[in-house]
Amino acid sequence: MPILVLAEMTDGKLMRDPTARTVAALSPHGDVTVLIADAQTGEAAEMAAAIDGVSQVLEAGSTALAHQLAEPLSMLLARLAGEYDIIAAPATTTAKDVMPRLAALLDVMVVPDVIAISGPDQFSRPVYAGNAIQTVKSRDRIKVLTIRTSGFAAAGTAPAASIRTVAVPDAEGCARWIADHRADSGRPDLTAARVVVSGGRGVGSRDAFAMIEGLADRLGAAVGASRAAVDSGFAPNDCQVGQTGKVVAPDLYIACGISGAIQHLAGMKDSKIIVAINKDEEAPIFQIADYGLVADLFEAVPELQRKL
């Protein structure tokens, strides 16, 4: 079964981790071709060719594809679609922008946030903020999927697959990129980190949030936040973990001053070990925490950082 995977790209660089996890999710079910589409593609195409399970790489280089805008990307994918049974991408904001538009162009449904594949047309995905898992069987000829990468391990490396250049259709030119405003923390990427330290409303202020960042740096961890912490301005938007933010499944998730609303749990409840530090012993977060510490986080977090 021929499968096309849209690689996750940022400014001509391959985001290997989400791409390799998507390849690993799909390669047991067919021949995986990876599409590298951006203004610059050379280095990314070579890196993608060396991912285990990739049988071919398609390289689509054009300034029209810079910044991963939905209109040119979906048009390119629609042109390539005829040769594939499954078209998939890691469930990043780029894919969530592009893949439904592609599906509409092909007159098929999109199956977002796939967490399990139980056959060529049968997929499972979380609904109701992760409070139910739905298994669906697709009746469409071409299946358009996004893969929730936190549930799959990243594929390793293998001898390089072949690379082929593909033509890029002329852009409609209806959307124009103006600027990026990236939050560059120097910490590991939240969705790929092995350890995540998160702060919630209980942290109280932007200044106090530095305590969460201090513990994260001590552990080489990524920093997360609840929606309450983000809305209160304690942490930037792209730190938000939850149904409407990022979904993470690290080995260790430390929730500090987070009550554990449904919306937040949807983004982290598949973590291997969950630690909750909260002074409210009734907080719902304790119901899913493997280790709970009822304590004032302004004492416990610095002590934890000191003793690690």
Partner: protein, 251 residues
């Protein structure tokens, strides 16, 4: 300009859903329903455009069970000028592709300059309808908007992406889908709720549009997610570190 805002009636976001034991879906009997939170944000943005004199008319549209009329009355009470209800078979949740096709027909009839919709519904968590509608209409899309600035013939939109924010400009007509931080939706006041009862609400059925709404995805089963085994309480930071090192082996 004319702004169209699709809104969905969903289970209230505070309700913890129960999955039916037979795997047939979530139990929605006697459960509180509300307007999808992202759609409230979309509506608020449209109403603010009207208050600033940029938009002349705001039309709310909903597709689903007859009870979606209540959701539209809420939209009218918040400030929408009129509403369109498209009644569809309530025995299943219409898929985003079917909804997008029905909305395309509405968009062609109403010719709005801008469609603002929520980024995702909190029941099926699809995050697809706005993008699908944009694809079907051949319009540009600006998804996950946290800021919207309208200029002559274009919309400048700041979008919330994984790595931070991105600003793009789209030519109108366009579709914008809203993220959480775009605005803080207002509450409808009692006088406005009363006035909303007199505002026009047009009712149609999905069959009026000749759109095939047969689901493309057959729901095989809906189950509870795997539960986590009960955890333990530790008394001190030292005990926590000991557990993480010796028992869990994660640090």
């Amino acid at each position: 300009m004319k702004v169209l805002v699709p809104v969905k009636r969903v289970i209230d976001y505070n309700v913890k859903i129960r999955v039916r034991a037979d795997g047939s879906g979530a139990d929605l009997t006697n459960v509180k329903m509300s307007m999808n939170p992202f759609d409230e944000i979309a509506l608020e943005e449209a109403i603010r455009l009207k208050e600033r004199g940029i938009a002349q008319e705001v039309i709310a549209v909903s597709i689903g069970a007859p009870q979606a009329q209540e959701t539209l009355r809420t939209a009218l009470a918040m400030g929408a000028d009129r509403a369109i209800l498209i009644v569809a078979d309530p025995s299943f949740d219409l898929e985003p592709l079917a909804v997008a096709k029905l909305l395309k027909a509405v968009a062609e009839a109403e010719a709005p300059d801008l469609i603002i919709t929520g980024k995702q519904a909190i029941d099926n968590d699809m995050n697809a309808t706005g993008q699908m509608l944009a694809g079907l209409l051949g319009w540009p899309q600006a998804s996950f908007a946290s800021k919207l600035v309208l200029r002559e013939g274009t919309a400048e939109v700041t979008r919330e992406l994984d790595g931070g924010l991105q600003t793009i400009s789209v030519a109108l007509p366009a579709i914008v889908t809203t993220d959480l931080r775009l605005n803080e939706p207002r509450y409808a006041s009692l006088p406005n709720i009363m006035k909303a009862k007199k505002k026009p609400l047009t009712q149609m059925t999905a069959a009026d549009f000749g759109v095939d709404v047969t689901p493309r995805l057959e729901i095989v089963m809906t189950r509870e997610p795997a539960g986590r085994k009960a955890g333990v309480r530790v008394a001190t930071v030292d005990a926590l570190i000991e557990k993480l090192r010796q028992e869990a082996g994660v640090i």
